[in-house]
């Protein structure tokens, strides 16, 4: 059982002052094995904060990130799953599922995590799973109206991954979950 936190588009301090307090109290160090971050943190303080939650931190570059050394895309294997990470502003049209599916094929991953639209999405599509953890701070987006703060926690266990999405709606944290199973060790 491996816990992976997928989070991104915090846009601190340009669009949001900080992570919501309720999220901060939920995210404690030592519980999560990996953090994959879609990008647009934007400042070092946020990087350090995430690093303090979990040393295995993977970040891809968002267009506002202060640190330009983050890669454009990243792939990693966790358990039986291959995960791909990309901020998403490079994939045109933005938020288009088929274009994201193309990126997924290109990176040859089971799960693609991308952001940029600040809108939570998680579903099976063609040959894989596409997840968008949304914006953890509920930051303004030109693409999405009424952004609720959200992040995703994936529980990878063998051939199965359970995706938990945490959303802050009207001051309350609501949780939803989605199940995915890999049929074989090859692809989903």
């Amino acid at each position: 059982m491996v816990l992976v936190l997928a989070i991104g588009d915090l846009h601190v301090p340009h669009r949001a002052p900080d992570l919501p307090a309720k999220f901060k109290s939920m995210l404690v160090p030592g519980k999560i094995q990996h953090i994959i971050c879609t990008g647009n943190l934007c400042i070092k303080e946020v990087h350090d904060y995430l690093k303090s939650l979990c040393p295995s931190l993977h970040i891809t570059r968002g267009e506002y990130d202060e640190d330009s050394r983050y890669p454009e895309t990243k792939t990693l294997t966790i358990g039986q799953f291959k995960l791909g990470l990309c901020h998403g502003h490079q994939v045109v049209p933005w938020g288009d599922l088929d274009s994201l599916a193309m990126l997924q094929r290109q990176l040859d991953v089971d799960i693609l995590v991308s952001g940029h639209t600040h809108q939570f999405k998680a579903y099976k599509h063609e040959a894989g799973v596409v997840i968008n953890p949304g914006s953890a701070t509920g930051a303004y987006s030109s693409i999405t109206y009424d952004v609720n703060p959200s992040f995703v926690l994936m529980d990878i266990d063998g051939l199965r991954v359970v995706v938990y999405v945490y959303e802050l709606i009207d001051g309350e944290v609501k949780v939803d979950k989605i199940d995915f199973k890999k049929t074989s060790t090859a692809t989903i």
Binding site: P13, P17, R105, E126, Y140
Partner: protein, 835 residues
């Protein structure tokens, strides 16, 4: 003085005593253990020096003491009172020494004390046996030397009181006056301390067994007061003895003894019979009289503090005037501010302990009295350093915040007094600025609301006097407070006032301030300002716009260094506002002078982003222009959106020259443009044409290829009225293909191998994308052709193996297969493709 009663004072007598036990002396023979009364003058004031010698004397003294104690106990065992007294007197003679420092004397004293305790216990029972207590009381007075005599007298006196054969008050009075016989400071202090200790539980307090018609609390009070007064006199006298050069040493020794004097006040504090009246009318005036009259700064400081700590806070409140009245009468060198601070702190805690006591404070006008007292002290001590005065006001402020939190006028008054104190002092030292920061932070912590602090008219005035660095420190404190409490500052006026306060962060205050600031620190500082800007909010769009304009005005004074940090958050605040009013626009039909319209806001946005050009940060500005363009698109303001795009394009062409930066910027342009629905055909064509042009002109061929096929999406928008120009999509893809070919050829020429087929696979995927979407121009043949091209290339000898490309191609084929397997319309479409 030396009474020659048999056996008591002749030292030689001891050795005629035949003892069955041989006592072994470790150090010196017996004779030398006794201090020769001729040699030691009572009242000799030499304070010992020489640590080593002192050790020796102490050891000798202890040995002598122990030896006599041993004999004393033996005598007691055989009920030989006379001998017991004789030996006890000899034992106590060790305390007649002048050779020990207070610290060492104390050690000797403690041993004597232990022995006397045992003696007392014995006498308690003795009085049941041979002689009466009155006789004993008489008997002990025959001791040769006065010091042992008085110790024994106190010991027996204690038993006497306990026997109740005479009124406690008489005995106590007798004892406290007899002790006058010792005028040597050190010995006198310990003797009276002993008296205090043994009499402690025998004072005729209310509810005590010693209380009666004859004995009252007043007697107890009198006794303790007298003992205290005498002890203080002795203690003060120590200051003036000995040569001037040893003054420091004397003061140190005096400090070691101070608790002996203070103990009396503790005793007073614990006498239950002392009610407020007695305290106010008798105890406090008498104690203060002694404190003031002794004119000794060490004593005054310690005793004032003692009074404050020992007696209950309610009493202090009710006697505030008297207590404070003593302060100006003290020696100028007394650190009265610490005393006053201590008092105010106690009263603050008292106020905090329960809300019921608060009315008392109002009733006694505590604030006014304290304020006056502080004013007088500051006036009296003209050379008090600034930090001292500020510390005093700080204590008063803490007090006020606890006791009268609703009286902002009091708080303001205190700040005002501070301003006048620090005005004109020029640059303040570190201690002072630290105090001022503490002073200013207190209201923030108490009220948890910057609004309240902003109401204090003197608050900004105090901040005026801070130097740059301190202003920054304080500004950070203010911002932290706002962030912690999540306060939303809601009016333009408050925002303006706030930004005035924190101007140290907003702009360079000092014209020739050199860049001492660490870069990381500077970033952190500006980022906290950025976060602050997020906290400014008002539901009313008009007010929100005013807030935005106010902030804009302030941050523009920040100069090029600060704008990249402060402009973006402001832009986003404005964009959020646009969203709010754009939905209202639909409902609004009135033509009133509502200035919070999207158009107006976009004007401000445009002007604000323009200021970034002076930094310059073209990448950031480009992104912000594009965000605004999208927002204008959502408001259907075509000219405004076009203008923003123009600005973004200009920046791209003129300012962004780094290849990597260009690629990212271009994707942002393409991505944004793809979503624009407000453009008419002409405008759209112009912008699209330019975008594809930029794409083809990127430096690296792969980048070109990718950007060009990204542009294909500009001609195909999935929305209902979106453009779906299949031909131009195909044109883009073909162009991308040509570039990919060229890239291949270049690789052949330069590296000898044909390079990666990755680009072809990507383009193939794009073909498939549009094929699926129903672009008629994408034929099965073209797809088939591409598949074959890729397959051939991959199998060719000259190709470099690329596992990523292999995997991509494999997954693409799988995709085609899965589409076929879907059946239905999709299945049919894909059926023709052979894999």
């Amino acid at each position: 003085m030396s009474k020659t009663k048999s056996g008591l004072s002749n030292p030689i007598q001891v050795h005629n005593y035949t003892s069955p036990v041989t006592v072994v002396y470790r150090n010196k023979p017996a004779t030398q253990n006794h201090i020769d009364p001729q040699k030691t003058k009572i009242g000799h004031t030499m304070i010992s020096d020489g640590g080593e010698d002192e050790e020796k004397w102490l050891t000798a003294g202890i040995a002598g003491l122990q030896q006599n104690a041993f004999y004393m106990h033996r005598a007691l065992d055989s009920n030989n009172i006379k001998d017991a007294l004789k030996y006890s007197a000899q034992m106590l003679s060790e305390l007649r020494t002048s050779r020990l420092s207070p610290h060492k004397y104390y050690e000797l004293y403690m041993r004597a004390f232990d022995e006397l305790r045992k003696l007392e216990i014995f006498f308690k029972e003795e009085s049941n046996r041979s002689c009466s207590i009155i006789e004993l009381y008489e008997l002990v007075q025959h001791a040769g030397n006065i010091l042992p005599r008085l110790y024994l007298l106190c010991t027996v006196g204690s038993v006497y009181i306990r026997s109740k054969e005479a009124p406690a008050k008489d005995i106590l009075k007798d004892l406290v006056e007899m002790c006058r016989g010792i005028q040597h400071p050190l010995r006198g202090l310990f003797l009276r301390s002993y008296l205090s200790q043994v009499s402690r539980d025998k004072l005729p307090d209310i509810g005590s067994e010693y209380e009666g018609d004859e004995n009252t609390v007043m007697d107890a009070v009198e006794f303790v007061l007298q003992n205290f007064t005498e002890m203080n006199k002795l203690w003060v006298r120590m200051q003036h003895q000995g040569p001037v050069r040893e003054k420091e040493k004397r003061e140190k020794e005096r400090n070691e003894l101070r608790d002996l004097v203070g103990k009396n006040l503790h005793v007073l504090g614990q006498i239950e019979g002392i009610d407020l009246e007695l305290y106010r009318d008798v105890v406090l005036p008498r104690v203060l009289e002694q404190v003031v009259n002794c004119k000794d700064d060490l004593a005054q400081y310690y005793l004032m503090d003692c009074i404050i700590q020992v007696f209950p806070d309610e009493y202090h409140l009710q006697t505030l005037e008297t207590l404070l009245g003593a302060c100006p009468q003290l020696q100028p060198s007394v650190d009265i501010k610490t005393v006053l601070s201590g008092l105010m702190e106690r009263l603050s805690n008292y106020a905090a302990s329960s809300t019921e006591v608060l009315p008392e404070f109002v009733q006694v006008e505590a604030f006014a009295k304290l304020n006056n007292a502080i004013g007088q002290v500051i006036e009296a001590q003209a050379d008090m350093p600034v930090f001292g005065a500020v510390a005093l006001y700080s204590s008063l402020l803490t007090f006020t915040l606890h006791v009268h939190p609703d009286r902002l006028d009091y708080v303001d008054q205190i700040l005002g007094a501070c301003v006048s104190k620090i005005a004109g002092k020029g640059k303040l030292e570190a201690k002072a600025t630290k105090q001022i920061v503490a002073l200013l932070s207190a209201p923030l912590e108490k009220y948890n609301d910057i609004d309240t602090a902003l109401k204090l008219s003197n608050y900004p005035l105090v901040m005026e006097y801070l130097d740059d660095r301190t202003n920054k420190v304080m500004s950070n404190v203010i911002i932290q407070s706002i962030m912690k409490n999540k306060t939303h500052i809601s009016t333009a006026d408050k925002v303006g006032a706030l930004f005035e306060l924190i101007k140290g962060l907003i702009k360079d205050l000092d014209a020739d301030n050199d860049d001492e600031m660490d870069e990381d620190d500077f970033k952190e500082e500006q980022n906290s300002v950025a976060r602050l800007i997020q906290m400014l909010y008002n539901n009313d769009p008009e007010e929100m716009l005013k807030i935005i304009c106010t902030v804009r005005k302030h941050i523009l004074t920040g100069g090029p260094k600060r704008l990249p940090f402060t402009v973006p958050p402001l832009i986003y605040n404005a964009l959020k506002l646009v969203r709010r009013v754009q939905s209202q626009d639909d409902n609004v039909s009135e033509e009133e002078t509502a200035s919070a319209t999207p158009k107006k806001i976009f004007q401000i946005l445009n002007q604000t982003i323009e200021t970034l050009s002076m930094v310059p940060v073209p990448d950031l500005a480009l992104r912000l222009y594009l965000e605004c363009a999208e927002a204008a698109n959502d408001c259907d303001l075509e000219p405004v959106a076009y203008e923003f795009f123009t600005q973004a394009y200009i920046l791209y062409e003129e300012e962004i020259s780094d290849s990597k930066a260009q690629v990212t910027a271009l994707y942002l342009i393409i991505g944004t443009l793809q979503r624009m629905h407000t453009f008419g055909v002409e405008n759209r064509d112009t912008l699209t044409h330019k975008a594809t042009g930029y794409s083809a002109k990127l430096l690296k061929k792969p980048d070109q290829c990718r950007a060009v096929y990204a542009c294909s999406h500009l001609f195909w928008v999935e929305d209902q009225d979106g453009v779906k120009d299949g031909e131009r999509v195909l044109l883009c893809l073909k162009r991308a293909l040509r570039i990919a070919n060229a890239a291949q050829q270049m690789a052949n020429v330069t590296k000898g191998s044909s390079g990666s087929v990755m680009l072809f696979i990507e383009i193939l995927n794009k073909y498939l994308y549009f094929f699926e979407k129903g672009n008629a121009q994408i034929t099965v043949a073209s797809i088939q052709g591409l598949i074959e091209l890729v397959t051939t290339e991959m199998q060719s000898d000259t190709s470099t193996s690329d596992p990523a490309a292999d995997a991509f191609f494999a997954s693409t084929i799988r995709y085609i297969q899965s589409q076929k397997d879907k059946g239905g319309a999709t299945g049919e479409k894909f059926e023709a493709i052979k894999v």
